[in-house]
Symmetry: C2
Subunit: 104 residues, 2 copies
């Protein structure tokens, strides 16, 4: 299992616009091999921004890499970067390998 | 749904000791109300550390807060901070509310 996260430092006054952009976007993920789940997350409020994160769980790092090279990936990101900037900086990507799992 | 993450900047030479500490620890989570899943994650390697994260999914922020005030929480963290330091700094806590969910 592999978790891909992108961290977004959203300007406090742009939170509604940021969330709307995500909710209105076309979703191509559901049919991608190895895709398990996607969550849009709202994190802590800091002095000059609010942290948001996209959080996608994949069956493996390989399946995630296949996705980044796919036609669906290009289509899903075609609109990214357009419009006015809602964040302080570019998103910061962090990928995580699962070392231990405990379920209820 | 609520995700509680702690980020650990682990000294590169202490990765094995860090992982072992987690794997050997007693787990009290399984019976805690509202607990859904726990993952220990290995993230990107930076210049002076490797990012690790604990990643716990809860039914709600309220259930997470109940856990932090419980006897099991005190027991689970009784050993934390003991032994030599394996990280560059204290762990950084980030809690996330789920705004959108898509499943395969």
């Amino acid at each position: 299992m592999y978790i891909a996260m992108n961290r977004f430092k959203v300007r406090p006054e742009e939170q509604e616009a940021f969330t709307t952009r995500w909710l209105e976007r076309d979703v191509f993920l559901k049919t991608v091999p190895g895709f398990i789940s996607f969550h849009l997350l709202k994190g802590p409020e800091r002095e000059d921004h609010v942290l948001y994160a996209s959080h996608t769980v994949w069956a493996s790092h390989d399946r995630f890499q296949d996705w980044t090279r796919s036609e669906q990936f290009r289509a899903a990101h075609a609109g990214a970067g357009g419009g006015r900037s809602l964040t302080l900086s570019h998103p910061e990507f962090e990928g995580f390998e699962v070392l231990q799992e405990i379920n209820a």
